[in-house]
């Protein structure tokens, strides 16, 4: 029961901290570009402002358009709530394993794309088409890299996978390394970050995510934006869980939890800083170089898999 409580808390934590994480990345980027930046809390302010604003709806928008934000938001939050951030063994994580988690995010994307097509602007369709295309290519790569990890643990349940990583002595596993790189690339693509997409762009023919939510306003827009931020944090946590779970709390003791929280924030900071660095240092890819980018990720993950079978199963 206590564990359940803790899990709900950490889910809440993820949801609440998500804007902060986004703000952190923005600030780091600003600093790297010798700007002051809007500060860590800017995303929160944006959200609050948007929630306050009225909704302007296109006259012929269907119910899909109005339902989509809620679906996107809840699906994302649902996915976030099963990802253990601090506590390893979280009972509710059984609700959805990694595959189900990916599927929940896919559901969110599905409705996002539908919403993009609902108004019938050229931009919406364009964004939907590209988003779905890229995600279609990203999904197998993502699953491949998950497989590499789950093959070791013989499980797709996050709890089991994490504890497996914690229990095994720290040996250098090339397959894991491959999987990590692949996963990072996928994370960039899935969250629409540079070099795949540019979250800060508008009215550009290369935009993907923004093109779909152009027509949104007010609380709907807020939900969409917030969902995106949660997704970013979710992926970051997932990567940390799967590859660097050290420091997570194995029991629901208070001290352990605090320690875990500290480790998590630290690891998170490093990871997000890394993101900021590569976003400032890299240029955005041309649209039709993205498939190559994603297939590279797939190939890496598959190589990791093969290496796992060739080298590591024997030892």
């Amino acid at each position: 029961m206590k564990a359940v409580l803790f899990q709900l808390l950490q889910a809440l934590l993820l949801v609440v901290l998500a804007p902060l994480a986004a703000g952190f990345v923005a600030t780091c980027k600003a600093r790297l570009q010798n700007r002051r930046g809007a500060g860590l809390l800017q995303p929160w302010r944006n959200l609050r402002k948007l929630f306050g604003k009225e909704v302007v709806l296109a006259a012929h928008a269907s119910w899909i358009f109005r339902v989509a934000p809620y679906v996107v938001f809840t699906a994302t939050v649902m996915a976030a709530s099963v990802v253990p951030a601090l506590l390893v063994s979280t009972p509710l994580s059984l609700t959805a394993d990694v595959i189900a988690l990916v599927a929940l995010l896919a559901l969110a994307r599905f409705f996002l794309a539908l919403a993009g097509m609902d108004i019938g602007t050229a931009f919406g369709g364009m964004g939907a088409s590209r988003e779905m295309t890229f995600s279609a290519l990203a999904e197998p790569a993502m699953l491949m890299s998950v497989f590499v990890l789950s093959l070791g643990a013989h499980s797709t349940n996050l709890t089991t996978m994490i504890s497996h990583t914690l229990d095994t002595p720290l040996v250098l596993q090339p397959s894991i390394a491959f999987a990590l790189v692949a996963m990072l690339m996928i994370a960039l693509a899935e969250n629409g970050r540079i070099p795949v997409d540019n979250p800060t762009t508008h009215l550009e023919l290369t935009m993907v995510h923004e093109a779909m939510i152009l027509e949104y306003s007010g609380r709907h827009l807020a939900l969409m934006e917030w969902a995106a931020m949660i997704k970013l944090l979710l992926f970051a946590t997932l990567i940390l869980d799967l590859f660097f779970p050290w420091g997570m709390a194995t029991d629901a003791g208070l001290m352990a939890m605090l320690l875990a929280l500290l480790c998590w924030l630290l690891k998170l900071a490093v990871l997000l800083l890394l993101l900021a660095v590569c976003e400032t240092s890299l240029a955005k890819l041309r649209l039709f170089e993205v498939p190559e980018f994603l297939s590279t990720a797939f190939v890496l993950a598959f190589l990791g898999l093969l290496i796992h079978y060739m080298l590591e199963v024997s030892l």
Partner: protein, 668 residues
């Protein structure tokens, strides 16, 4: 009251309309046919459920060959497929009541639609090779009459011809595999064939014949070429049955012959590998070609190919695992395949019915002329959306459950002799993931282009919602999709009888050891999924969000769309089916071989464009590389023979003369 009585009653109900047709007045035909079909469907479902929980029931009918009365038997496998057939036939029957309202040539349908269902039911309960083939071919022929129903259009006739040809080929191949089993077992009854002892070589021959026979009928790449032509041209209620069930009956035959008669005992590893490869290729290429279609029903037909591929991936994994003696995982794979079978029956039937409803109210199959139908046909749109989410394998609907189970099978597959072979398994799983994601893409396109945005034509703008019968016919499978997706733990134990019969191992305790809430194959620590919890959580969150935001933003101002400041967008400026799939077309050009022409008129100046015409054609490789060459070869030979036939009488006397000399020389 046992399952057999019900099954036979279902058959009788399906037979009745075609017998009574000449006696029934035109006005009563539709009602009678639909009533009979509906009762047949319900009876079949009842028989299926009973058969899954009861022990096998077998009997013989006074038909068939003199020394071989028609053996029929309802066992677990058959019962499950009875359930599948019934669960779609009943709603389709209701749907037809509305769909055929203004159909003048109802008589033809009244004969062949029920006969078609009868054929499928018969195949499922047949217990000897002869009656199996009898019903099988009955199914093929009667469905051919449905495909050529609109026979005044030449392309329909062509589609029908190729369909019948491939069906016949499939039938002959299957006949071949039965002949092998007969030669080994010495009798036509399945019992004898089960007990037959085959040498590995002949077992493989039987396997290959059966695999290609049923594969052709199921539309597995690369034998699938007939399918995208045949399914769209039939009346939509018939297409729903063909895509929804008939392909499943082919899957049934595959399992019956290869798992049951040949026996899971003597699987050879490469069988599973072959099936796995075929499944993966069908899954991916099916959806890739589906993405490039703009004829709604044709697109759906290609998706049937994809889903058959997914089922085959499950079966292939299971066969591979069984060959390496991992019965528990094999059972899991089998369950996954079966579950996807019933799921696909539901959502594909629903999709075809939805397409039929759209066709009914806009008079068009072409997606490029649709749009904004969600406003005109809300119920249809809602049901269609459910089906779209299901087929895209997204929670909380049923498609996701079966694909999730397939993934689990692939993931838990342990080391199977050789890294090469072992690596195939996760690779096929990745292909499955790709197929799933592409399917999601495809159905965003379908739903977005057909139901959302602005209407692209007058017909679409003035579309009307369909009548109550058709609505009801679509709502029922939609509910099934939801139930199958939310309560897999309730349904899967029903299926458990099948692996028990085929692999002598039960998954029941493994599946819901965690209680009804959790779907945890093998063990919760391995993997688990709880659709009810997920849905409950989402509803809770959504409710909270709404309740929290509503007072704040009660105000909603309707206005023109923004569209980056240019609200005057013509409907033709929307992304349509072709443009939506353009990125993927460009990425997979190597596979699709699409020929794309852009013709730009610049009459005045190189910078002043008057017209831009854009034409894309994506042909089917199977037709191009397999069917057409073979047809050409046949015609060539035929032409030579025909010329020879017209040669003079002397030549033919010479032939006779030469023949006798040859015989004398050879035989003495």
């Amino acid at each position: 009251m046992n399952s057999m009585t019900l099954a036979l009653a279902a058959c009788a109900a399906a037979l009745l309309p075609s017998v009574l047709m000449p006696l029934t007045p035109q006005s009563l035909r539709r009602a009678l046919m639909c009533m009979m079909l509906f009762s047949s469907g319900v009876l079949a479902m009842a028989a299926g459920v009973l058969g899954l929980v009861q022990p096998d029931v077998a009997t013989t009918l006074p038909l068939g060959l003199p020394w071989l009365p028609m053996h029929v038997r309802v066992d677990a496998l058959g019962a499950f497929f009875l359930l599948v057939i019934g669960s779609l036939t009943a709603p389709v029957a209701i749907y037809s009541q509305g769909y055929l309202r203004h159909e003048p040539r109802i008589g033809v349908l009244m004969i062949f639609l029920p006969l078609f269902v009868l054929g499928m039911l018969g195949v499922v309960i047949a217990d000897d090779a002869f009656s199996f083939m009898l019903f099988w071919e009955l199914m093929s022929v009667s469905s051919w009459f449905l495909v050529t129903f609109e026979h005044t259009r030449a392309e329909n006739r062509k589609a029908g011809f190729i369909y019948l040809l491939m069906a016949h080929l499939a039938g002959l191949l299957i006949l071949g595999s039965f002949a092998v089993l007969y030669a080994a077992g010495g009798a036509f009854t399945f019992a004898a064939m089960r007990s037959a002892e085959l040498s590995p070589l002949w077992a493989s021959v039987a396997f290959l014949l059966a695999a290609f026979g049923f594969g052709t009928k199921a539309g597995v790449m690369p034998m699938h070429g007939w399918l995208p032509d045949a399914h769209p041209v039939a009346p939509s209620n018939a297409s729903a049955l063909m895509s929804g069930i008939m392909l499943k009956v082919a899957v049934f035959g595959f399992i019956r012959v290869i798992w049951d008669l040949l026996g899971s005992g003597d699987f050879q590893w490469w069988w599973g590998a072959l099936v796995l490869a075929a499944g993966s290729s069908s899954a991916v290429s099916g959806v890739l070609f589906a993405l490039q279609q703009h004829n709604l029903k044709r697109l759906l037909a290609y998706h049937s190919i994809e889903n058959i591929g997914i089922i085959l991936i499950g079966l292939g994994l299971a066969m591979l695992l069984a060959a390496f003696a991992h019965p528990l995982l094999a059972a899991l794979g089998l369950i996954a395949a079966l579950y996807h079978t019933i799921n696909h029956a539901q959502f594909k039937g629903l999709l075809f019915m939805g397409a039929g409803a759209v066709l009914h109210s806009t008079g068009s199959r072409d997606m490029e002329s649709m749009g904004a139908l969600i406003h005109r046909m809300p119920v249809t749109a809602a049901c269609f959306l459910v089906a779209c989410i299901s087929i895209s394998a997204l929670p909380p609907f049923n498609g996701f459950v079966s694909e999730w189970l397939t993934f689990q099978t692939a993931l838990m597959a342990p080391q199977l002799g050789g890294a090469m072979l072992t690596a195939i398994v996760p690779f096929s799983a990745a292909m499955l993931a790709l197929a799933g994601a592409l399917a999601a893409t495809c159905f965003v396109k379908v739903f977005g282009v057909v139901f959302l945005g602005h209407a692209r034509s007058e017909a679409a703008a003035n579309a009307h919602e369909v009548d109550a019968w058709m609505k009801l016919g679509m709502i029922i499978p939609a509910i099934f999709c939801a139930l199958l997706g939310l309560l897999p733990v309730v349904f899967i134990p029903l299926l458990d009888a099948v692996p028990v019969a085929l692999l002598h191992i039960s998954l029941a305790d493994a599946v819901h050891g965690q209680g009804w809430l959790w779907l945890a194959p093998i063990d919760a620590s391995h993997a688990s999924y709880s659709a009810p919890l997920a849905l409950a959580g989402m509803l809770l969150l959504g409710g909270l969000a709404w309740w929290w935001l509503h007072p704040a933003g009660g105000r909603i101002r309707k206005g023109p769309m923004w569209s980056c400041g240019n609200p005057h967008v013509h409907a033709r400026m929307q992304y349509n089916a072709t443009s939506f799939s353009q990125p993927l077309r460009r990425i997979f050009q190597g596979v699709l071989q699409a020929d794309e022409h852009v013709h730009t008129e610049r009459p005045v100046h190189a910078l002043l464009t008057r017209h831009v015409r854009h034409a894309v054609h994506v042909g089917d490789p199977a037709v191009k590389w397999l069917y057409q060459p073979l047809g050409a070869l046949t015609l060539k030979l035929a032409r030579h023979l025909h010329q020879a036939h017209q040669s003079s009488i002397h030549a033919w006397l010479g032939w006779t003369f030469a023949t006798i000399l040859l015989l004398l020389a050879v035989f003495t």
